[in-house]
Point group: C2
Chain length 492, copies 2
Amino acid sequence: MGKKLTSRSEDYSKWYNELVVLADLAENSAVRGCMVIKPYGYAIWEKMQAQLDQMFKATGHQNAYFPLFVPKSLFEAEEKNAEGFAKECAVVTHYRLQNDPDNPGKLRVDPEAKLEEELVVRPTSEAIIWSTYKGWIQSYRDLPILVNQWANVVRWEMRTRLFLRTAEFLWQEGHTAHETKSEALEETIQMTNVYSDFAEQFMAIPVIKGIKTASERFAGAEETYCIEALMQDGKALQAGTSHFLGQNFAKAFDVKFTTKEGKQDYVWATSWGVSTRLMGALVMTHSDDFGLVLPPKLAPIQVVIVPIYKGTEQLKEIDAVVHALVDSLKIKGISVKYDNRDTMRPGAKFAQYELQGVPLRLAIGPKDLENGTVEMARRDTLDKNVYPIEGIDLTIVTTLEAIQKNLYDKALDFRSQHTTEVDDFEEFKTILEEKTGFVSAHWDGTKETEAQIKVLTKATIRCIPLDSQSESGVCVLSGKPSARRVLFAKAY
Amino acid sequence: MGKKLTSRSEDYSKWYNELVVLADLAENSAVRGCMVIKPYGYAIWEKMQAQLDQMFKATGHQNAYFPLFVPKSLFEAEEKNAEGFAKECAVVTHYRLQNDPDNPGKLRVDPEAKLEEELVVRPTSEAIIWSTYKGWIQSYRDLPILVNQWANVVRWEMRTRLFLRTAEFLWQEGHTAHETKSEALEETIQMTNVYSDFAEQFMAIPVIKGIKTASERFAGAEETYCIEALMQDGKALQAGTSHFLGQNFAKAFDVKFTTKEGKQDYVWATSWGVSTRLMGALVMTHSDDFGLVLPPKLAPIQVVIVPIYKGTEQLKEIDAVVHALVDSLKIKGISVKYDNRDTMRPGAKFAQYELQGVPLRLAIGPKDLENGTVEMARRDTLDKNVYPIEGIDLTIVTTLEAIQKNLYDKALDFRSQHTTEVDDFEEFKTILEEKTGFVSAHWDGTKETEAQIKVLTKATIRCIPLDSQSESGVCVLSGKPSARRVLFAKAY
């Protein structure tokens, strides 16, 4: 510990950067833009993975694994996709190092070991996967293909931040192949819903489901669906995307199939992904000036128990009571840690678990032993109360549920308060600068207006919400007619 | 289907290559030496991962994630390690592509986007991890560090084979840091035991635990422990390694800690790993000329049920009986698939599941409905029997256990029959050529003799078995004195 966390009001960005490191989630590595995900941070990611993986399998998907490298000639086959990612590709050009004759003990790239064709480290896997699917698909009987991959990808970003934007990140990417356009569109929407359910029910983050404008679309997609979340500093964060790829990749890689009617047709595609960026969203949605606040469903440790004692005799008595409690909690599927280390004082332990966002902290001292009580502190509200130890396991179960709900409600409340309908461009600018958050406004549907608004305000169209009502109005900038409102915000 | 599998006796190597592809485990990709792991193959790997991960956590380890790339200057810090891997490193030299002015629509590496320092795609992660641990370790209180990583690694192999030797492969790598030599050695041995337990109890593969000779040691290790398995063609396969790294990496990266006594000392290290190579071992240990044979504990589908029917009326009746059975099996934690597709004949389904190694196949037809019976076929023995459907769930449970045991016993029996004590070099050569398998022989302990035996016979010392008895004898080649026998074999 030692180092004090900058407060959010002082410098939100600094608060985030410090918190990720102090809470032992991740740190920068010796490799430019690449992070080390530390065990505590990785344990949260594992919980996310396990839940998402279960949801993917429940919707009929299977996992597979495709190569890390994409030969340049495959990478460039789908032109828009290639163009979109070309500027941020790490490229392998050689396959061997050798002793450097000029620097004894040092190595250099062996100039003789140049690859005939350069290999791109995958920034996304459509190209390598569709070149593979070509071999898997002959007939409608081979469809649909419903495959997901958990993998690392590399996008050479110039300005990086832990979890939010890193050169290498971990993600999952679903790649599906279908007979018909409508089936592929259904899949695209289904996965948007899976992401939204996951964000809301597990991460306790309310999200807006919507469609991206053409200029914010995934390179190579016909339509990009997304879930958008709002962070505590009033900036939006794209938390997941699901792309309807049309027949673009099937055409680029010549993937045709024989239909039930015996005709040849190109296959329809989707792809969808979420990444370790979700870790950033999790931190920025719930945490406070004391440290992380984690929703119980994703907390690696849901309950920590700290003994308050003098001497080994007292500790022994507490140990006995706690061990029974730990057992009864484990049976209920609750992840509990009993921290009876004698190398750290209770106060320091309290500070550590507060910083690391453990949802519930129990403290048991000699008085509690006498009275048959235990002190329980909620991380989300910082409330402390004394409870009878008898029946505390049930209290813990209901309190964890209450915390999960409270975090969601608070975030939803924050978002409601920071979503503003605006019809005037001066007000539009003021709201974005002062109140921040989502601005719901009319837009004339042109990319020129969208670009101009971005130049003038730094805000982008986050999405056209799926549940937006048609409502005639005029564009907040151009005054031209508009049929519905869209959501603007400054974004991560 | 369609394509018939080459038999093992005809061409073992061809049999393996065909089987991996025909059983839908993996295939070669468009990237030289890199494979695509298909959903069925990946499902087996996921089962391996889940079990190993649980065993790692039960022994106190946590997962984390470190960068894919290693800057060249870090990579070369531990000289022996660097020397050992330099010749097979994929190297990233550039971070951007651009439109190729000479080839419209094509991309080329942007010569302006050359990295100041080349990045090696990790062939193993000691270097990047120990440069990270330097920041994590100040005092004995920071020790031990018990971390594992699930990741992809790249070793540029010239001759590749699916699962057995691929340029990119998936693995786990444990990297631990300790106060004392003895603690690090204990960890090294503990993980050797974890690997051996996993291989024997889950993969049904008997393994020999042993120590590698100096020339077969991991580059940068002081001692390499291993588990060695024997394949059906009499060749050995190294199935996992656990390295005692001494203070080599701590010295290379200057990782010191303050001891309990207040002194400064270098940290002691281990690393240990198993990879998708295990998939190759699994296939080659148990499978036969009809296809895969999978141990029930790792089979993605443990039981498949195929209806034999004419017309939808019969199918409906069978469906009803089967659905009840499926439910009762699922409750028992058994992975079961009911394949009532009407696009494939029962015979074709039988062939598919035989090829894919499903341990138990049930068939139910109209006669079975009348008699209250079901036909059950074991994949391992190819035995078929008719059982009363009443109580079949318990029969299935005990039969799956019997299959698991039978596979292990058969493999153990094969190994016993193919392990030969030899004291004469002519016999040594003959056994290796004709009988094949492990040869237990005396060796004088010199790398010269080891190298000469390899040249003369292609056999290497697989290990000095941990349970080998001291026994004085003379080296099978040089005639010089020897204190114990070691295990030779030709190997994958």
